[in-house]
Amino acid sequence: MRILYFAQARLAVGLSEEAFHTTESLSAEKLWHLLIHRHPALLPLQSACRLSKNSHFLQLGETFHPDDEVALLPPVSGG
């Protein structure tokens, strides 16, 4: 799985992307748990961030698969 970090998530982690190896599918809750374990600075961002899967907002109940591209999307502020 490839994880992309943007804006405050990028600043918290210090990376804009990284590989995340998993052989099984993961729920959003499980993925957050694992990412926060690796990067504790993500904890305060969890409630505000949305997740995307392969360039689409994650739908309720959808899970992540080992080959997915996942992005942590803090509240947007374009324009």
Partner: protein
Amino acid sequence: MKVFVRLSPDPITPLPDIADSTSGAVVTFSGVVRNVEQNQPITSLFYEAYHPMAETLIRDILRQLSLPYPCSSVEVLHRLGHIPIGETSLWIRVLAPHRAEAFSLLTHFLDRLKQDVPIWKTKPSP
């Protein structure tokens, strides 16, 4: 509705005029980097985007808005990277037969852009 979208680090220059005698209204919006951000003086802002998703979402939103607000053309340029104050971060031009659709589509699009499209501005680290 013709749609043109470009996200790019290049400075924004307005696109050439469109000759279209069926469109009675042309509305243009420019977003400019101000000298203050959240009450702090700044000299530039850093914009980043989740590029393919941002462009796809912009097109999806415009397609949805074209149903209640039929316009003939919408062009969206968003600059990314470091943008100094006084320079344009966003440029949008809408052509429509009448002004009401043009203003409605544009203002609703801006609301959606600032709510859903994965583009972020951050203050450069000092």
